[in-house]
């Protein structure tokens, strides 16, 4: 449980839809103890909840079980444990599907993040779920709610690892918790060892967006970053005291890996999607990013140390989604000369025609990209579906009845999409009960 060993954690998925090869390369191309995968962006749960309502055996990232099946022989041969929040709103069904596809694997499931069934009772009991950004109470939206999931921390995930499971499947958890859990498990860190937990959270934050650590989406000297086609995803080498190195495998299949881990790439990720850097809230600790020290440690190696932490917050973050209404966005290309001018004129024509039809929208937007040849993008949103639907019939006619040179209408009329909006809130820790179970 302790000692000076190094634990290696690879992070192979930054969101649902990220590279399907990255997890394979991480387990095959170099030393690894744990593979962590994040499937859940802010809005993903509402999509999964919809799939679950249509079919109660769905509601999770359905490409995860086939991935595990593909990885299974290597996981067993090399003793690698996998952690993923691929379970979405139905972690149990996800875990059962893994068992069906790879019966040789032991699978643990972490539940307790789904608060949707308990919301009426929790509101009754005085939890208000006020919007973290705007401050309004949730109650008026009760009949429009689609999902409500509390961010679980790393301790239940660590408990699941301790069961010896080859794969740990959870629903919503803090992204960094997927990387922190193996450290807690291997080094026996306690909930009051706030500096160690903060170190783990900082390390987890640095890798939780996958290739954004290793040279992807990196502005600093981007032209010189080698071979992005074969970019390796990040690996953490972490010590029992929390000191760690961020690196990547040298190999990618049979050749050298691409991308670059540098001070610049790690700094860009350290500042990614944070608020007050001195108070980065997670369910396990409040980490102070202003205490972190970074240093080069050889090619493609950055040493991270010095993180300080404060005790875990009393309240946990809940991500709630609700039906807002409908939206649609359409694009047209206006050819040279004066494409941008034609595009702007075209937008005015569409709004004038919509006004003649008596349409008004809760929100509308026009974007024009380019000058000589230009892309026009128009979008509207409204609680009424028919209002949005009527708009989608007004764009394509421009090809014949608007300014000259409109093209790029190959996809036809814009599609109407449901807007399921996001409502961040807090809930008392005492009402949250994570549950860990190993599937028989």
């Amino acid at each position: 449980m302790t000692g000076n060993s190094t634990v290696r954690i690879g992070f192979g998925q930054g969101f649902w839809g990220d590279s399907s090869e990255a997890p394979v390369r991480l387990v095959e191309d170099g030393p690894l103890d744990y593979l962590a995968l994040d499937y859940l962006a802010e809005v993903t749960m509402s999509i999964l909840q919809k799939q679950y309502q249509e079919n109660p055996s769905h509601g999770y990232a359905r490409d995860f079980p086939p991935l595990v099946e593909r990885l299974a022989p290597t996981l067993l041969a090399r003793g690698i444990q996998v952690l993923a929040n691929a379970g979405g709103v139905n972690p149990r069904a996800c875990a059962e599907e893994i068992r069906r596809r790879a019966p040789q694997l032991k699978v643990a499931v972490v539940e307790g993040d789904n608060l949707l069934p308990h919301l009426p009772a929790l509101l009754e009991a005085g939890e208000e779920f006020r919007n973290l950004d705007m401050g309004e109470p949730l109650a008026p939206l009760l009949d429009r709610l689609r999902s409500a999931n509390v961010y679980l921390g790393a301790f239940p995930l660590a408990q699941a690892l301790a069961s010896g499971a080859h794969v740990v499947v959870s629903g919503r958890c803090a992204d960094a918790a997927l990387a922190l859990a193996p450290m807690i498990h291997r080094y026996g860190w306690r909930a009051d060892e706030v500096d160690k937990l903060a170190a783990g959270v900082v390390a987890g934050h640095i890798v939780e967006c996958g290739a954004q650590t290793t040279g992807g989406n990196c502005l600093a000297d981007w032209r010189s970053i080698p071979d992005l086609a074969r970019i390796a995803y990040p690996v953490l080498e972490i010590q029992s005291d929390g000191a760690c190195v961020v690196t990547k495998h040298e190999r990618y299949g049979n050749g050298p890996s691409g991308g670059r881990v540098s001070l610049a790439s790690v700094k860009e990720q350290l500042v990614y999607e944070i608020g007050d850097p001195a108070r980065y809230f997670t369910p396990d600790v409040v980490a102070d990013f202003t205490t972190v020290r970074l240093a080069e440690d050889g090619p493609n190696r950055v040493r991270v140390s010095g993180a300080r932490g404060l005790p875990a917050p009393e309240k946990l973050k809940v991500s709630i989604s609700y039906h807002w209404g409908w939206k649609a966005a359409g694009t047209l290309v206006f050819s040279a000369p004066h494409g941008a001018e034609k595009a702007r004129r075209a937008a005015e024509i569409v709004w004038a025609r919509c006004a003649d039809l008596g349409l008004s929208f809760a929100g509308r937007n026009v974007e024009v990209f380019g000058e000589e040849t230009a892309l026009l993008r128009m979008a509207v949103r409204d609680p009424e579906r028919r209002t949005v639907d009527r708009f989608t019939r007004e764009m394509i006619p421009l090809v014949l009845n608007g300014p000259p040179g409109a093209t790029g209408y190959g996809d036809g009329r814009p599609k109407v999409h449901e807007v399921v909006a996001y409502w961040p809130a807090l809930v008392s820790r005492s009402v949250v009960a994570p549950k860990v179970e190993v599937l028989a």
């Binding site: 973290l132 950004d133 966005a329 909006a421």
Partner: protein, 115 residues
């Protein structure tokens, strides 16, 4: 003289709901004081006046020679609600590097700036 922010810094931006945060990182520690002096929260708010409806708060991270700008009401509702092509605020990091800042002749030679 006036130079673009990209001369001294790189950046990355992202979202949290309707918030955008823009992390701006000086290429070298010696450039951090210039960054702190030249890029105020107000300057960022004015630069993105078309896009940011709310307040801009600036946080300092001297440990990595970076500033973090948290911009409120910056994504037309954010996430699924936003009607923008960049609903997640990914483009703010690149865009801010076009901001013009003032550096002295002395700083240019002292800091070896590529201008």
């Amino acid at each position: 003289m006036k130079v673009r922010l990209e001369t001294i810094a790189h950046a990355r931006s992202g979202d949290k709901g309707n918030l955008v945060n823009i992390g701006v990182i000086a290429y070298e520690e010696a450039l951090y004081p210039v960054l702190v002096r030249e890029v105020s929260a107000e300057k960022v708010r004015v630069y993105f006046a078309d896009l940011i409806q709310g307040e801009v708060i600036r946080y300092e991270m001297p440990n990595i020679a970076a500033l973090n700008f948290v911009c409120q009401e910056a994504l037309d509702g954010g996430g699924t609600l936003s009607l923008r092509s960049d609903a997640q605020g990914k483009s703010f990091g690149g865009a801010i590097l076009g901001l013009e800042i003032e550096v002295s002749e002395e700083e240019i030679s002292l800091l070896n700036l590529p201008v």
